[in-house]
Amino acid sequence: MKFDYNEEQRLLSDSVRRFVAQDYGFEARRAIVASKEGMSATVWSTLAELGLLGLPFSSDDGGFGGGAVDLMGVMEAMGEGLVVEPYLSTLMASRCVAAAGTDEQKQRILPGVIDGSIRMAFAQGEKDARFDLDHVQARATRAKEGFALEGEKLAVVHAPVADFLVVSARSGGKGISLFLVDAKSAGITLRSYRTLDEMPAADISFRNVPCTLVGTEGEALPIIEAVVDFATALVCAEAVGALKYANDATLEYLKTRKQFGVPIGAFQALQHRMVDMVISYEQAKSMASLACAKIDSAKDAAERKRVVSAAKIRIADACRHVSQESVQLHGGMGMSEELKVSHTFRRLTAIAQQFGDADHHLERLARG
C-alpha cells in the first residue's frame, strides 16, 4: 500500500509538468489550437523525446514496459496543461497493434509511434452506437491483398492529424475485427471539425479502402474493450489534473477577487462550495488511482470493467460538479474565452462523456 509515485514516475510527470509550464502555457496553447492542423508537430516531437510514446510498450516492442500507473502522473500533467496533441488516440490505436498485430504490422507501426514519426487515431464510434463498443456496422470484405473497408465512423478524435487509423468493422459474418488503415489511402473522406474541447476530429467515410486485419478475425471485441478501459482509466487521470487546475484557479480567484471590500472567499456560502469541490477532487483522484492500478493488476476482465466503470462514474460526476462550480464562482470571468478556466470547463465537460457517460457506466456496473 503505497500512494506516492516512484522515482521514475515522478521524474516523468515532473518533466511533462515542466514542459507544460515552459512551452505549453495558455498563450502557446491558444496558438496551437488556432493553427490549421490544431496540434503542434514540435510538441509531438518533444513528447516522443521525453519517452512518453514508448512508455507503455513492452521492451520487445521497443518500449519501456510501463503500465497505466506509470502513465498516471503524465496524464495528470497533460490534464492540467490541456494538451491537445493525439497522445491518447495514438496509444489506443497502437496498443491494438501491439496486442494483436502481426510482426510485420508491429514493425510498420510501433517504432514510428515510439520515435514520434507516426500519429494514430482509433476509429470506433458509429451512428446510433452511443457508447456501445459492439454496435458496429462498418464492414470489411476480403480483397486481393488484405481487406477492403466500407462504412462510416463518427467523431473520431485526432483523425485529421493521424497517419494511420485502427478501425473496427464486421467481416464475413464473424463478428467484430480490427483493421489497420493508412490514413492517406484513396476512398477515405473526412468531414473535419474541432470538438468542444478543441481537439481536431472528423466523421470518416470509408469507400473500398484497402486495409489489413489486426488479430484474429471476429475476435476483436475483448481487445477493443481492454483498450477502451485502458484509455478510460487514463482519461480519469487526465481529469484529475484538469480538476486540480479548476480548483486551484477558483481558490485563487476567491482569494483575490474583492467585492464589498473583502475577498469573495470570505463569504461562507462560497467557502463551503469550494470545500465541496475539493472533496469531489479528492474522491475523483482516489478512483482514478484505483482504476489505473486495476488496469495493471485486475485478475480478470470483469474486475477491470467493474473498477473502471466505478471510476468513470465518480469522475464524470466530479467533472460536472467542479466545472460548473468553477465557472459560477468565477462569475462573468469564468465565461470568458480569455481565461484558461473556461477551456478547462470544456475539457472537463468532454471528459464526463468520453468513453461513456455516468449512465453508460452505471448500466455496465448493473450488468456486471
Binding site: 464510434g125 451512428k127 446510433d128 452511443r130 457508447f131 456501445d132 463518427l154 467523431a155 471539425y193 474541432r194 470538438t195 468542444l196 476530429a201 466523421d203 474583492k258 467585492q259 464589498f260 471590500g261 456560502a269 462560497l270 460548473q324 465557472v327 459560477q328 462569475g331 462573468g332 469564468g334 465565461m335 470568458s336 474565452e337 480569455e338 473556461s342 477551456h343 470547463f345 470544456r346 465537460t349 468532454a350 462523456q353 468520453q354 457517460d357 449512465d359 452505471l362 448500466e363
Partner: protein, 377 residues
Amino acid sequence: MDLNYSPEEQAFREEVRGWLRENLPADLREKVSTHAHLAKDDLQRWHRILAARGWVAPSWPKEWGGTGWDPVQRYIFEEESGYAGAPPLLPFGLSMCGPVLLKFGTDEQKRRFLPRIYGGDDFWCQGYSEPGSGSDLASLKTRATREGGHYVVNGQKTWTTLAHYGDWIFCLVRTDAAAKKQEGISFLLIDMKTPGITVRPLILMDGGHEVNEVFFDDVKVPVENRVADEGMGWTVAKYLLGHERMNTARIGTSRRELENLKEFAATQRKNGRALLEDTRFRDKISRLEVELMALEITNLRFLDQLRGGRPPGAEVSMLKITGTEIQQRLTELMMEAAGPTSDIALAQRYCNYRKTSIYAGSNEIQRNIIAKMSLGL
C-alpha cells in the same frame, strides 16, 4: 382557488397565439429555434413588428403605448412569444431605460427618448458592471466630471451585452468621488457615437460575441442627458432592480425547449431503443418537466398576488434562480442526449447557458436578496 385560465384569459391567449402565427416571420422563428445568431437587424425587425401592433411595451402607461394588460395577460403574452420562438425583446430600452425615464425623466427627456425606444429606432445597452464591481455594483469607478454644460466621462464598463449593436448606453457613473459609496453616483444617457468611446469584444467560451468592454476616454455628455438629480443614480438603480422581476422565469421558452429535447431524444438511439425510452434519461427529463410545471404555477401564483395588489416579497427572486437552473439543465440534457456524436452546437449552447446563473444578478446575489429581504436574515 381556480387554476384554470378564465374564458377572457383563454381568449386573450388565442388572440396572441393567432397573431404570432400570422406575424412571426418564419426565418426569425427558425433562427430562434435553432439557436442561430440573431443579428441586430433580426432583433430590430421583430421589435418593429410588435411596435406596429402596439404590443412592444405592455407595462408602459397607455399614453406612451402601453397595453393596459394585467400581470397575468403580460405573462400569457411572454409565454406565448417564448413558446412560439419569437426573438427576445431586449430589456435595455423597453424594460430598463424606459421605466427609468417614465419614473425619473423630465418631460423633455421622455418626449425625446421614449418614442424612439418604443419604435426600435435606437438600440440601447446597459453600462453597469465594471471590472472591479460586479455583484458589488456600488463600488463602481467610472467618473463623470462636470465641465460647464457637459460631463466628461472616463472609465470602463464590462460585460456590456450587445454594445457592438448599441446606439445609446445608459450608465451609472461617479459624479462625486468624495461622497460615500452609494452616494455620488449619477445616471447618464450616452450616445455611443460620441468621440472617445471604444468597444472591445469579449469572446465567451462558446466562441460567441455577445458581450463587450466599453472604454470611455474624455467622453463629453451634455448635462441634459442626466436622469434624476446628480447623486441620485443609486436610487435609480435600486428602482430598476425592483422593477420587472416577474417575467424572468422564461416559462414559454423552456416549454418549447423541453419539447425539442423530447423530440430529439426520441430520435437518438441507445441499446437499439429510443433514448427517450431509456429509464435513466427519461427520469431526468421527467424531473425537469415537473420542475418547470411547478415553476409555471409558482410564477402565476406570484402574478395573481401582484394582480390582487399584494406584491410578493423578495421570493420572486426564486423565479430567476429556478428559471435559469431549468434553462441550464435543458441545454445540458440536450448535450447529453447527443452523446458522442459531432453535434458541437449543442455543446456550445450548454457552455453559453452557464451565463444565465451569473448575469442579471447572479443566483448567489438572488439568494442573498431572499435571505435578507424576505426572510429577514
